[in-house]
Subunit: 225 residues, 2 copies
């Protein structure tokens, strides 16, 4: 069965976005810093309609994840761009534009039922109102033999982790202390969950930590796999 | 001038000890997990009066830090073993025993003035009541041309970081989510502080991230170097 993975950039102090997120600044104050390592990569730029950029080991890590992904699951705020004024407007097409970088079916967790939106380049947004397991099931069906990637945000990632549904986490650890913002794990309060570090690739800009969730430990500490 | 460094084991979710610390369990619930990678090392065992153990790249990282250290600064709770009943008893000799693993002069930040205590093997505990800068100054004088190592806990490390006095942080990142406990950085609220990843060494048990504090960024964001 296809795996559920999550690639996410995090500061040394555990933040995946800065404080005070807005529509204009969906990553919050200082949050862009977490993605700087990716902005210069050819693989990232191509997905975002930009030319040029570097090919390096960081780019290979990105390419590998993109190649492995057959479908995406994301939270409502990730779709609509943070805590903006349209966050409760079910008609919004979000802030991803006409040619979103996903290029696979995307399943958006929301409370507002609406029709699937087809975009250019293979991206579609399907809105799922009956919970994280239903969204994962639909994404798995769409992914074929590829993985389902969790695009965030932090709250959704925590929900899948607590439910024992997350198989692998790849943290792109950025050498900065943000000091405040959106914490990836906060105090999950689940008791210890073991991870297995299956690969570490480091460059001066970022350390890529691939971590497999050891689900037996989740079971012992009260998760519901 | 001698540098101020801090070597510390941290979980992926940012904890350096588990919750509910006691004298019997100074690392809190689940906190021993953070140091498992070190317990089996010959270099760690030798310092703690135990024979045997492994020599491997993790051990070389430990050896390197021990060799570089000429003096140690620690907080009162680190000296006395957590939130135990003796934490306010200035007569306590702490829980480090007669042959502590430091083998260099140790400067303990405390509010209780008392005489220096000499232990076996080169360790002495000197109690400093006039603040973090005074403790660092005394430690620097004792360290000669070696580094001063900050032994913790988290609050003391944050104070030195905020004061612009910490030069290097080596995080031993352990693949586990503790879920709760003592957070190394919590929400420092200082605004972004840049770090420079000067070296990353990874084993299946632990990833050693050596991070230089870029003090210019600290100055810009309100620190007081």
């Amino acid at each position: 069965m296809t795996r559920l993975t999550c690639d996410i950039s995090m500061s040394i102090d555990g933040f995946v976005a800065g404080p005070n997120q807005t529509v204009e600044r969906p990553l919050g104050e200082g949050g862009d810093r977490l993605h700087e390592w990716a902005f210069s990569l050819a693989s990232w730029r191509e997905r975002h309609g930009l030319s040029g950029g570097e090919a390096n080991p960081d780019g290979e890590v990105v390419e590998e994840s993109l190649r492995a992904t057959g479908a995406v699951v994301m939270g409502r705020r990730m779709f609509s761009g943070g805590e903006g004024p349209w966050k409760d407007d079910p008609r919004s097409d979000g802030w991803w534009g006409e040619d979103p970088p996903f290029r696979v079916p995307v399943f958006v967790l929301t409370h507002h039922a609406r029709e699937t939106v087809a975009k250019q380049g293979g991206t579609s947004f399907t809105f799922v109102t009956d919970g994280i397991e239903a969204a994962l099931e639909q994404a798995r069906a769409a992914a074929g033999d590829k993985d389902v990637a969790l695009a965030g945000g932090a709250t959704i990632a925590q929900q899948y982790l607590e439910a024992g549904l997350l198989d692998e986490l790849q943290i792109h650890l950025v050498p900065v202390l943000l000091g405040d913002g959106v914490s990836l794990f906060d105090r999950l309060g689940l008791g210890p969950i073991e991870l297995e570090a299956t690969r570490v690739i480091a460059s001066p800009s970022v350390t890529h930590l691939r971590l497999r969730v050891v689900k037996d430990t989740l079971r012992e500490t009260g998760g519901t796999p």
